[in-house]
Symmetry: C2
């Protein structure tokens, strides 16, 4: 009976990512994933620590992907351009990989899972880079990064939840918000 399918953590993760991006993180269930992989759901436990482990792996992968996207956006820019480019890349990533971006929101209580915490921290560090370049230091950076992340993340969440009912252009709203942030963040 159909043994040794050749399942692999990477295969499983790839399929999970595809499913998450196509139908949302909530659609990523072990049962559906197994079906897509031509396997029974208990078989997945050989590669992943249950649903929770899968979601954690997704979050880890998502953090790395987001970090890369932001780094790329910063490449060859300077100062204000960098901040704007970063903001656009952030939203572009969320649009291109909605499920992965969702995975980024996984709550991680302080003590547990230092690896995931570190991965998230690396993303935060990249966001802070253009701010430090502009001369911010110490807690000023932290506060500024928090404001930036809040605005970007909030915008994306509201946008995806169809929270912007009125008819004005959402793209323009985003650009204006970024203008506002850049201006306020010592521009």
């Amino acid at each position: 009976m159909a043994r040794r399918i050749g399942l692999t953590l990477d295969r499983v993760l790839d399929e999970a990512i595809a499913l998450a991006d196509a139908e949302g993180l909530g659609a990523v269930t072990l049962a559906r994933l197994a079906e897509r992989l031509g396997v029974r759901s208990p078989s997945l436990y050989a590669h992943v620590a249950g649903l929770d482990g899968l979601q954690r792996a997704l979050a880890l992968h998502a953090a790395g992907a987001l970090k890369s996207a932001l780094q790329d956006a910063l490449e060859g820019t300077s100062g204000l351009d960098g901040l704007r480019s970063l903001a656009r890349a952030y939203r572009a990533f969320a649009h291109a990989h909605p499920g992965l971006y969702e995975a980024t929101q996984r709550a991680v209580t302080p003590g547990e899972d230092p690896e995931l915490s570190a991965a998230f921290l690396e993303v935060v560090e990249v966001v802070g880079r253009p701010l430090r370049k502009r001369g911010l230091t110490g807690d000023d950076v932290v506060h500024a990064v928090r404001a930036l992340r809040s605005a970007l993340h909030g915008f994306i969440v509201l946008e995806r939840a169809h929270g912007f009912g009125l008819s004005a252009s959402i793209d323009e709203s985003f650009e204006r918000m970024v203008d506002l942030l850049i201006a306020g963040l010592h521009g």
Copy 2:
């Protein structure tokens, strides 16, 4: 056998709210709710249209409660004070009623459920009030409200998910972000 418990939509909702605020919206299941109410879960269907209906009712209630809180915060303020008071009230509501605030995030696809859409729109309208008072009109109000909501909502979500790892004061981060927004929003 134990008939006519006297269950009521309000009783059900109150218990659901208590559960949501105590353990998060995800903990609000028909099974647990029924147990708390001393009833079997199918009995809830006489009062609520399944889990989805319950969540919708929670969202509706939450929108009303948030709107009231924001209106109260605006009472007797003017201009800049109003905006700051509103922002603080927004976060205070999310802290005091985490489950209810979570219910506020229910995604509602444009066409369906006009009643819920209208309820959410009323909250948005209150947020826009101090901006209109300061002379903003037309799309300027819409864009400004979107920026404001994004920042406030994003901050709250990140805060609750323990997304602010570093040690700087979260309260100060919030005040600074509000400063930034007020300054940028034509202050």
